[in-house]
Assembly symmetry: C2
Homo-oligomer: 156 residues x 2
DNA sequence: ACGAAAATAAGACTGATTCTCATTTACACA
DNA sequence: TGTGTAAATGAGAATCAGTCTTATTTTCGT
């Protein structure tokens, strides 16, 4: 209920020429308060949980609006629903390791890789706007536990 | 209608312990004959066009079966539908530059980038199985034409 | 050629997301 | 501090890619 936080978020929204609706503020507050990657439905349910009245449609629309303004980043982990996180600064971009067994997502940043990407773009006279790099596999925890009689990758 | 090609594809399917149905053969033939990245609906329509009788369900199921057998590769360009291409050899993996204006997809391979990926995985004690790297932006053609105000290329 | 197992066709179903439109809200300005 | 208006929202219908169900057909070993 921090009024100060509300005020700050209101300002952020106004700076992006967006109306500071209670729904948008609640949404940003939620994403600010976690490092998890929620999908739209989880965000919707959590906001209802918090007694915010908001509809699914608004969650989707607001997320899109915020993504357009680079206040939120949309992530595609390839499992049929999009995840969202509060955008870090442009310089704080990161990529993802995604465990196919437990679904854990590990963030990483590798400068050399970013450099190579720019190199590739130049080679092809391509002007990049953004990119996604997802490495799928098995995380530390999961392959340690692999002594279990579980079979191969379920592959979705 | 090359009977030889049919025979070859039949053999490929049998080698993977799959029944050589006319639908699967037609599907592989289609993907073999193009370098484009079709989505399931396009494949379905194209097969109908070619007088192959095949249902949408079969297109989806067969694609999944072929992907499981590594005969076909499934690509996620983040626009809500999957694309498919005939698998290259394991060593012929490539990543993608995706033009946000015209939808063109340029394939590339960068050894240094692949090496960095392995390095990142080791750092996190993560065992990779595969990865996707998509760089979105504007291709050469499109940003050259960008001075041209009437060249809108929708191409969903 | 025969039959069991596998594959298919058609369309119902699902789950995520988008759209529609009547109603409500934010906020610039009087 | 009210008010008009454009923007945003709520509720649910619609859409869209993809999956599932079931009766029917096909493949392929024998």
């Amino acid at each position: 209920m921090s009024a100060a936080e509300n005020q700050a978020l209101k300002k952020v929204l106004h700076e992006h020429e967006l109306k500071a609706t209670s729904q948008r503020i609640a949404l940003l507050k939620l994403l600010d308060g976690t490092s998890e990657h929620f999908d739209a439905e989880e965000i919707y349910l959590e906001l209802r949980q918090r007694q915010k009245n908001v509809s699914r449609a608004t969650v989707y629309r607001s997320l899109e609006t915020l993504v357009d303004q680079n206040l939120v980043t949309k992530l595609d982990f390839g499992d049929g629903r999009m995840r969202y996180e509060r955008s870090q600064g442009e310089d704080e971009h990161h990529d993802h390791l995604i465990c196919e067994r437990c679904g854990k997502v590990i963030e990483f940043f590798n400068l050399e890789m970013e450099a190579q990407q720019l190199f590739v773009c130049e080679e092809h006279d391509f002007v990049p706007s953004n990119h996604t790099m997802h490495i799928f596999g098995t995380c530390s925890d999961c392959h340690t536990l692999k002594a279990n009689p579980e079979a191969e990758t379920p592959s979705q």
